[in-house]
């Protein structure tokens, strides 16, 4: 009898635990998930869906300009596979050491609504880590 009770207690505990974790995960998924997009994919989306996204691309060789008022940078982000497709990005904050033309970067932020010439406002700007590894990438 007591064994049976023990087992059902485990089941109840498991149900409670999974319920709690499920709730946490569900709320996390509904509030903290964002689109992970390449530049070309972002360009193909309607701008109202681009309020909060993470975008991957390469820094274009031309158009890099440091902001005059405080740390930050404006640049053109081009698609990794399709350099013709670009998005203008404005980022205010500390620019990573490894940021330069040709590096792959990840930006998080959103596209302000209105106008096709809008500038992507990046909250974060991350460059992909060791440049050495990228060489390997190309060979492979």
């Amino acid at each position: 009898m007591s064994k049976k009770n023990g087992k059902s207690l485990y089941l109840v505990a498991l149900a409670l635990f999974l319920g709690g974790v499920g709730y946490l995960v569900f709320s996390g998924f509904s509030q903290n998930s964002v689109y992970f997009l390449n530049v070309s994919e972002a360009l193909a989306m309607p701008s109202d869906k681009l309020q909060s996204i993470r975008m991957f691309g390469t820094v274009a060789p031309e158009g890099i300009a440091r902001l005059d008022d405080g740390p930050g940078v404006r640049f053109l982000l081009e698609d990794k596979d399709n350099p013709g497709q670009t998005v203008r990005v404005m980022y205010r904050g500390a620019v990573p050491d490894t940021f330069k033309e040709g590096v792959e970067v990840i930006v998080e932020g959103g596209m302000p609504q209105g106008g096709a010439a809008a500038e992507f406002r990046a909250k974060t700007l991350m460059t992909k880590c060791p440049s050495k590894y990228e060489k390997e990438n190309r060979k492979g």
Binding site: S2, K3, N5, G6, K7, L9, Y10, A13, L14, F17, L18, V21, L24, V25, S27, G28, F29, Q31, N32, S33, V34, Y35, F36, L37, E41, M45, R54, F56, G70, P71, G93, A94, V95, D97, T98, K100, E104, I106, E108, M126, T127, K128, C129, P130, S131, K132, Y133, E134, K135, E136, N137, R138, K139, G140
Partner: protein
């Protein structure tokens, strides 16, 4: 010479394949005559791999740029130490290093008493699995990730080692992880082998025999993860120790699964229960190590660390899927008739199971969340991913939950009931008081609960060690309590340094002051200088706290000769067990105005102190195993203390 090193790897591959086949054939025929040959074959194979590693090392040390690998990761200016450690700077080298570690672990295991006393059948199964793993490694090394590719003509100089890796802390982060991943191969293969040969009860239990390997691997893995966090905090100048990047998550998954195993294995070795669960968890630990590599190396998920594919992604994935299927099949087929039911959930057994649940839930969540950009493609047209905020929201409460369980567990009996009500109440009192206090000041429920639970664990372990003499005498329980104390300190460190960190990014001219909480940071001077292979500029910041001098921060910005156009920030800190002051120099303009990132990190050093303790304490448990007594009473490790 390079060709012969490559041929040695090919020969090792053939050896591994042939003798894995031989083991299978012997099992089929019900004989074990070839066993000595298989053992010798593994020695041979390890010898071959050692030789090819020596060749690679020799090439690295002697600037042999005809090897693509050497040219890619070293140059003539690189000091000897970093030339040697460039062994694991790239994919091919780190694969070779990992495989070589696994082979060496295999040799060590084969000379232990535990191995010698196994039945021939179990040994054959073990070699079948182990050599299959070796063959897989060698296939990767010979087919997709060959460290001995040559270039003709050889370049005059190499590309140099990434400056981020030119740091004594960082250079040991990858090999520690690989040693951790590698060490789990032995217990993983042995668990499956003993299940297949049905050797339970007729020979030493696999969990006990392979325990030194499990613990060693766990300790290396923990050290690797902690070192990685410290490096990202100090060296990268990111100011944060954990960003929930896919690569970081990848190393956490094997850690979580193996930690869950350590807890359920206590129930098996002390109480003779949960055999099947343990086989599954151990094998999954081994597989998750491969999965971690897959995540890092395949480029399946876009990450900050662009290691690139190099073609190993697909074979790794196939290997992972196949071995997971095998593991699940073995655990489903295998039965043990005399398995006893678990005690009630309000017992120490119950709590160990709960901890394992939480750890496994964490690993499953992190796995799914990290792979979400891949999974979500099945039902939405564009990939969705998860922000770091997701992990903080979902994982931190679970970690706080672990700390709560950990503070209560030592006071429960194995079969149920409370061992000492006054002590339990004292611990709960500490938890309530600290939680209430932090809640009152900061209003952050999770941070408050984490702080309370962390403090309660520390208090509980101190009470336990001072009042219960038998705990102090038992090395295995001391090891467990040491690890738990380390974890509690880490929980405290994270609970304070995470939410209560003050940070500012400023651009200021000389002789101006930034205010950060109670601290004033005054930017007084700018220097230029030269170090080994780099030039630097350095800002000098005088720090005062409410008028009283605290110290000087000198963050640097370095330009390495080989990596021009790329500056590296060298963070500066003023160490403190309470608040740690932290500064990175992000840039300087022509007028001498500096862009600085400054922060105050409360209790952050307890994360490193706790982490170090977690890596050191298991040694006590290893020592305990050398005592000449049966394996039964030596495994209180990571359980919660020895109960009379």
């Amino acid at each position: 010479m390079h060709l012969s090193a490559y041929l040695l790897l090919v020969a090792s591959l053939l050896f591994a394949l042939f003798f894995a086949g031989a083991a299978a054939a012997q099992l089929w025929q019900g004989r074990s005559t070839a066993l000595p040959w298989i053992e010798k074959a593994h020695l041979m194979l390890t010898g071959f791999m050692t030789l090819s590693s020596v060749v690679l090392l020799h090439a690295l040390v002697n600037f042999d740029f005809s090897l693509v690998y050497v040219a890619s990761y070293t140059d003539r200016a690189l000091p000897l130490f970093y030339r040697m450690t460039a062994f694991w700077a790239g994919q091919a080298g780190s694969m070779l290093f990992w495989a070589w570690c696994v082979a060496l672990f295999g040799v060590i295991f084969a000379v232990t008493n535990g191995y010698r006393d196994l039945s021939p059948q179990t040994k054959l199964w073990y070699w079948l699995f182990f050599l299959a793993v070796m063959a897989f490694f060698l296939l990767i090394l010979t087919a997709w990730s060959n460290p001995f590719l040559t270039a003709a003509p050889a370049p005059a100089d190499g590309n140099g080692l990434n400056p981020l890796l030119q740091n004594p802390g960082m250079i040991f982060h990858p090999p520690l992880l690989f040693l951790g991943y590698g060490g789990f191969a032995i217990p993983g293969c042995l668990a499956l082998a003993q299940a297949m040969s049905n050797g339970y009860g007729r020979e030493g239990a696999w969990a006990g025999i392979s325990r030194p390997f499990t613990l060693t691997a766990w300790l290396f893995l923990t050290a690797g993860i902690v070192l990685g966090g410290w490096w990202s905090y100090m060296e990268l100048g990111w100011g944060g120790y954990w960003a929930w990047d896919p690569v970081e998550n990848a190393s956490l998954i094997p850690w979580l699964v193996s930690t869950a195993f350590l807890h359920t294995s206590v129930i098996e070795s002390r109480r003779g229960k949960l055999h099947r669960v343990n086989i599954l968890l151990m094998a999954l630990t081994t597989i998750s190590a491969f999965f971690a590599t897959y995540l890092v190396r395949s480029g399946v998920v876009d990450s900050l660390h662009a290691f690139g594919d190099g073609g190993v992604g697909r074979p790794l994935l196939i290997f992972i899927l196949a071995s997971t299927a095998l593991t699940v099949a073995v655990t489903l087929i295998w039965r043990k008739d005399d398995a006893k039911p678990l005690s009630g959930i309000d017992s120490r057994e119950g709590f160990l199971v709960l901890v394992a649940w939480v750890l496994l839930a964490l690993s499953a969540i992190i796995l799914v969340a990290t792979m979400w950009p891949v999974f979500s493609k099945f039902w939405v047209e564009k990939p969705m991913g998860l922000e770091p905020a997701f992990y903080n929201r979902v994982c931190l409460p679970l970690f706080a939950g672990i700390a709560v369980l950990l503070s209560i567990c030592p006071w429960l009996g194995w079969k149920g009931g409370v061992r000492s009500m006054p002590k339990l109440l004292a611990v709960l009192g500490v938890m309530a008081a600290v939680t209430a206090m932090t809640w009152y000041t900061y209003r952050m429920p999770m941070a408050a609960l984490g702080a309370g639970a962390g403090a309660a664990c520390v208090a509980g372990i101190i009470i336990l060690l001072t009042t219960e003499a038998h705990v102090r005498r038992n090395n295995a329980s001391l090891a467990a309590h040491g690890v738990h104390l380390g974890l509690a300190l880490m929980v405290l460190g994270v609970a304070f340094s995470g939410p209560y960190k003050l940070e500012q990014e400023v651009e200021i001219p000389r002789d101006t002051t930034v205010k950060l909480g109670k601290y004033d940071l005054r930017y007084v001077n700018l220097y230029e200088g030269e170090g080994a292979g780099y030039i630097f500029i350095e800002a000098e910041l005088n720090v005062t706290r409410e008028g009283a001098p605290v110290g000087v921060l000198s963050p640097q910005r370095r330009l390495y000769a080989k990596f021009d156009r790329q500056a590296y920030a060298e963070a500066a800190t003023i160490f403190g067990l309470g608040d740690e002051l932290y500064a990175t120099l992000l840039g300087v303009d022509s007028s001498g105005a500096a862009t600085l990132k400054v922060s105050v990190n409360p209790l952050v050093n307890w994360v490193w102190i706790g982490g170090t303790l977690m890596c050191i304490a298991p040694f006590l448990g290893l020592g305990g195993l050398r005592r000449p007594s049966s394996s039964r009473d030596e495994d209180g490790d990571t359980g919660d203390g020895q109960e009379a």
